[in-house]
Amino acid sequence: MPSLEVVRETGRVLRLCAACMYCDGLCPVFPALSGKHENSGADMIYLANLCHNCRACWDDCQYAPPHAFAVNVPATLAAMRRDSYADYVWPGALAGAFRRPALGAAIFVGVALAVMLIVLAPHGSWGALHWARLGSGSFYAVAPLGLMMGLAGASVGWAVLSLAISTLRFGRAISGDARSHFSPRALKLAAAEIVTLRHLDGGGAGCKEYGPRFSQRRRVFHQIMVAGFVLLVAATLAAAFLQHFLGVLPPFAHMSLPVVLGVAGGFAVVVGTTGLLAIEVRSEREPSERGETRLNLVFLVMIETVVLSGLALLLWRDTAAMGPLLALHLGLVTGFFAAIPATKAVHAPFRAAAILRSAMERLSRRRREARNAAASD
């Protein structure tokens, strides 16, 4: 259960919002409150995750502090959202990572170090890695294929399993009556809104950053980062293809598909995460919830560290540094996937589920209104 204090404050704020409704053109959170005297716990969790934290409503709110009502929708929903991550994460033992975001970072670093030791152990010392031979197949001289596959399989499998179960738990909690409104059109609408980050546009002007500044930069940097991640997955698949079907062993040539995709993806992720970090660091603090800011920072730094280690490996793979760099990269990648269930990564499937419910409800309302209009003609 979310903490009583968070539930009370969310209930108080959403009640005021429902009575006011001035923000109904900014994002779907507010129209979803229309006419509602009260929100169930499940609805609060749904709305908290539907909120993209663009903060347009913070600047526009006539009841923001120092007004006596002290309405702070972005920070209130962020606290609720963070509680929902802790409540629905599987296994429940990871809940603490959303109350103390440093725990996610600890899993990341701990697993990375452990993997580095595992890779290193057969060689006896870092020094021995210097002697790894160069050229085709040299990566496997540092870490055997079986070990690499084992580490990747276990960490990615764990991440996918945990995120899937967490999301199912969350989805079941928020779906309620909405389930009966499912339609392929709703799925299509939700997908379009996810791909374009439609609801991060603050009703048109974009996200609030600092001072009176609004921009679409968060939307753009986020999707550059996601596109980079997709390219990195493609690079991995291309590498597997080359090895299994064509018998080419890594490291691959600079102009090969895996390297080209990997470099493009790596740069995109670095640009995206750096941009997001710069915005996060400079954002106004008052509408931010400290815990969520920490989750964001930990996750962004994690992503950027992993990708930079990969780019470093590419840059110096023909030198004596290759062995240690490969061990470092393997460690960080494994640590990343091991830690993912306990990081801000959960926001992606949770928010996607909330957007899907919102899309279903909006389409069903539109159908109902069209029917009513037809009936009254």
């Binding site: 009575a19 923000c23 109904d24 229309s34 120092p66």
Partner: protein, 421 residues
């Protein structure tokens, strides 16, 4: 050092902003004095939602058409013929380009298709509400070179030999002397109508400026004892409660006063303007206090309220929770057909004042008239301080912002033209 300004605008609500932006765009040096701190700037417009505009054909922000003549005839009707028809007609003509003007100054409007509330052909809705508009106008004013001071009070010291206004601007302990060729007073209307009233607008527009101008010989218009009032939740803040504390479900339940005696509105307990009549009725109750009591069905029909209603299972329990006489309340319940059964819900209510039907008389250029039949040639008034010229009684939804923009723009332009001539 004393600075000199072409136009000095007193009051940073939407009227003052419109005046100062219009003056600056004509090339005059312009300064804005706002009494509120930055976080609470913008006067009552912070609480605005929509504004009334005439338009000849469907627009993206409003369907259908709202002809100028229809606008005027509705204004004449609500004011019982009291409006200055000539001035009203020319200001209504100005409303046709208010949307373009606001949009040109960074204000965004809502597409009716995204709105959760019913839209009308008479008004355009501000995306994000009045505070979003205020923020955009301040940003524009800064960008085009208007000098803005918050937490500042202006006091007119007199006029120098060359006709310039000598003004002292006080910000905390710091004071500054400035000279201005023309002054625009956009400092809001009077607020103190009666004891026990809740002020729905901001705490910073107190009508003190207007009072000093009256003392300096300005001609007044309207009735200082009449105001636009609605029922508001008595538990809300004493000032600045805005839209959310408004109680509109009175027709669905029982209304009693402090003595648990049922009160009503003879002949008018429903219809669109009922809550304005209820405001005046509640103001007359003992201690200005009354209570709306609803059953579950009434509560379901009521719009969401900022504060949770008081809940009780019996009339006696409700009387105790509200501090009312149980016997009297039981009698009131017996006489009421609107309450089916428990549980019961109650909202304590006071009258919330939106504005007073009283202000300064102006001519067509928004110049303030003097009591002896002349005018102050370099003193202009805009917004609620001159609203009584148009609204000596009654109200039309969305007229406040519209009036502020058209009067502010006209005052600012006239002031700049005078200063630059």
């Amino acid at each position: 050092m004393t600075t000199t300004w072409d136009v000095l605008v007193i009051g940073g609500g939407v009227a003052g902003l419109s005046a100062v932006i219009a003056a600056r765009r004509l090339g005059g040096s312009a300064r804005l004095v706002e009494s509120a701190p930055l976080a609470l700037r913008g006067g009552n417009a912070r609480h605005a939602r929509n504004f009334r505009i005439a338009h000849a054909e469907p627009e993206f922000f409003a369907p259908g058409a709202y002809p100028e003549d229809e606008f005027l005839s509705e204004l004449v009707r609500t004011t019982g013929g009291g409006t200055d028809a000539e001035l009203a007609r020319s200001l209504i003509a100005d409303t046709t380009d208010v949307v373009d003007w606001l949009a040109g100054n960074g204000v965004r409007l809502q597409n009716p298709a995204t709105s959760a509330i019913p839209f009308s052909r008479r008004t355009a809705f501000l995306l994000g509400g009045g505070k979003a508009m205020i923020n955009a106008l301040y940003q524009t004013a800064e960008k085009i070179g208007v000098v803005i001071g918050y937490d500042s009070k202006a006091k007119v010291l007199g006029r120098s030999g060359d006709g310039f206004w000598e003004v002292e601007i006080r910000n905390g302990a710091a004071t500054e002397r400035v000279r201005a060729n023309a002054l625009v007073a956009a400092s809001g209307g009077p607020r103190a109508l009666a004891e026990g009233l809740v002020l729905r607008g901001g705490a910073y527009s107190d009508g003190a400026w207007m009072q000093r101008m009256i003392e300096a010989g300005a001609q007044t218009i309207g009735d200082p004892a009449s105001g636009h009032m609605v029922a508001v939740d008595a538990r809300g803040p004493q000032v600045d409660g805005g839209i959310v504390t408004r109680i509109t479900a009175l027709p669905y339940g029982l209304v009693v006063d402090r003595n648990a005696i049922a009160i009503g509105l003879p002949g008018a307990d429903s219809g669109r303007a009922h809550y304005a009549k209820w405001g005046a009725r509640i103001a007359q109750c003992p201690e200005g206090l009354s209570f709306l009591i609803l059953d579950s069905d009434g509560l379901r029909r009521a719009p969401p309220s900022a504060l949770e209603p008081v809940r009780a299972e019996t009339p006696a329990g409700l009387a105790e929770a509200l501090g009312l006489d149980g016997v009297a309340l039981a009698r009131a319940f017996e006489g009421c057909k609107k309450l089916a059964g428990p549980p019961f819900f109650a909202f304590p209510m006071r009258a919330g004042l939106t504005f007073v039907h009283f202000g300064l008389a102006v001519d067509g250029h928004m110049r303030v008239k003097t009591r002896d039949g002349g005018i102050f040639p370099t003193l202009f008034a805009a917004g609620m301080i001159m609203a009584a010229n148009i609204l000596p009684r009654g109200y039309l939804a969305g007229l406040g912002v519209t009036l502020a923009v058209v009067s502010g723009r006209r005052a600012g332009e006239a002031a700049a033209r005078h200063a630059l001539a």
